[in-house]
């Protein structure tokens, strides 16, 4: 039955697929993508690495979704929802890849919805709440200035799925970075009040960026094998883009190397518990629910 014939009928008429499923039960985004892991690639390492990049995208996406209905203009609601959707798409691909590499029968739904905070490997930056819109665009700018060169280098990964996710993601995150940068410049170079609040947001967010460039043992091992990206290498490109934006916005700031707890090791703040309580509630209350 097609949607045009009877929209209400179509909603309840899911005989063959989960097209109208909510919560869980979506079709695998990697359906039909060759799933083999190159023979000499360490599967446990690949699993851990895919979780890191996938969790960054998943948690950041959820934080962005929380801004929908709270943004200053309708266009920004659309922009934030679209950016969140791109990141959710990247997360689905990465978590599905993690599940395959792990080989323990966990799919993207299980990994997203049935893990506790201590099993999440996202950087702390992704989970932080935003005090105001300036904090949001500052955080999105830092996140995008870091993720863009990361995905760009991932295109050379020896894992063909990671390379493909990188190639696709670069095009998307280019837009995300531009959106955040234009807001930071507009607020920084705006009124006295907007400048003050934008500077306060940069002062709050940028010092926490140090964790983004700390190389985890898994990243080091996989980077040496040509599979992963060593985040320490991203620093010059990140600094260059950030200073271009801050200069244009008449803002100042430098990121420190200070540690903020290692999200990559599963150490998180109470913010992640809040996010997961909201994000996972339905899937945990009704495991496998489809309607």
């Amino acid at each position: 039955m097609s949607f045009d014939d009877d929209a209400y009928g179509a909603l309840t008429d899911h005989d063959d697929d989960a097209r109208w499923a909510y919560g869980t039960g979506f079709a695998d985004p990697l359906a039909g993508v060759p799933t083999a892991v190159p023979g000499d690639v360490d599967r446990a390492g690949l699993t851990a690495y895919c979780l890191m990049l996938g969790d960054d995208a998943l948690v950041m996406s959820h934080r962005l979704q929380q801004w929908v209905t709270r943004a200053p203009e309708l266009e920004d609601e659309l922009a934030l929802a679209n950016i969140a959707l791109d990141l959710l798409g990247q997360a689905r691909l990465l978590l599905a890849r993690a599940g395959e590499a792990e080989g323990a029968g966990r799919d993207e739904d299980a990994l997203a919805s049935l893990r506790d905070a201590g099993e999440f490997r996202n950087v702390r930056l992704a989970e932080r709440g935003d005090a105001d819109f300036a904090h949001l665009v500052a955080r999105l700018l830092v996140f995008s200035c870091w993720r863009l060169p990361l995905l760009d280098r991932l295109t050379a990964s020896r894992d063909p799925v990671l390379a493909a996710i990188g190639a696709k993601g670069v095009k998307e995150v280019t837009y995300h970075r531009e959106y955040a940068a234009q807001w930071v410049v507009r607020l920084g170079d705006g009124t006295d009040l907007s400048h003050r609040r934008m500077q306060a947001a940069i002062d709050a967010v940028l010092p926490t960026a140090g964790e983004l460039f700390e190389t985890h043992e898994v990243e080091a091992r996989l980077a040496a094998a040509g599979v992963a990206v060593d985040p320490a290498q991203l620093r010059p490109e990140f600094d260059e883009a950030m200073s271009q934006v801050l200069r244009a916005g008449t803002l100042t700031g430098s990121s420190s190397a200070a540690r903020a707890g290692r999200g990559r090791d599963g150490e998180h703040g109470p913010e992640l518990d809040e996010i997961l309580a909201e994000m996972q509630e339905l899937a945990r209350a009704l495991p496998g629910g489809v309607w």
Binding site: F26, A27, P29, A31, Q244
Partner: protein, 162 residues
């Protein structure tokens, strides 16, 4: 009708004025003794229409008498608006959606960061005015941006070049 002909009739769920083939989403249609195998590629990582597209292709093939049909996702090479055919672009324009120009080509090195206005001129699909302005880089779907025409004062959508 060959399987490829059948697949060529399936339209996009979000942009029903164009077919999936015209959008460049269909990468391969292969008839094998086991059935038909179709490869499609997502426009954006989070494109929520992928499941619907997969279902539409399978049911079109089933309705045309092809028994088994499988749709596989092909991630690489990543989709680009350069794959939209000339007829697809013409249909988009006729529906009031400004079609994409050539996708940006990037030199090696870091992705350049554009602050302020991009140096692009996009014509209004309604009145033809050559210079229009961007309202937002993000529209109703991931692949479209919102623009406004200073001449006829109408807002319109533009399929952004990627």
């Amino acid at each position: 009708m060959s399987a490829a002909d059948v697949v060529a009739t399936v339209t996009d769920p979000e942009l029903p004025m164009v077919t999936l083939a015209e959008l460049g989403i269909v990468r391969e249609v292969r008839e094998t003794p086991d059935g038909v195998e179709v490869a499609i590629t997502p426009t954006y990582s989070g494109c929520p229409a992928m499941e619907a597209i997969r279902d539409d292709i399978v049911s079109a093939l089933r309705d045309a008498g092809f028994g088994r049909a499988a749709v596989r996702t092909q991630l690489s090479p990543a989709w680009t608006t350069d794959w939209i055919s000339e007829s697809g672009k013409a249909k988009l324009a006729a529906a009031g959606i400004s079609p994409p120009g050539a996708a940006p080509r990037r030199a090696s090195g870091p992705v350049p960061l554009v602050l302020g206005l991009r140096g692009e001129s996009i014509a209004c699909p309604r009145c033809g005015c050559a210079e229009t302005e961007r309202i937002s880089a993000f529209g109703a779907t991931a692949c479209r941006e919102l623009r406004r025409c200073p001449a006829c004062r109408e807002p319109f959508e533009h399929l952004k070049e990627i």
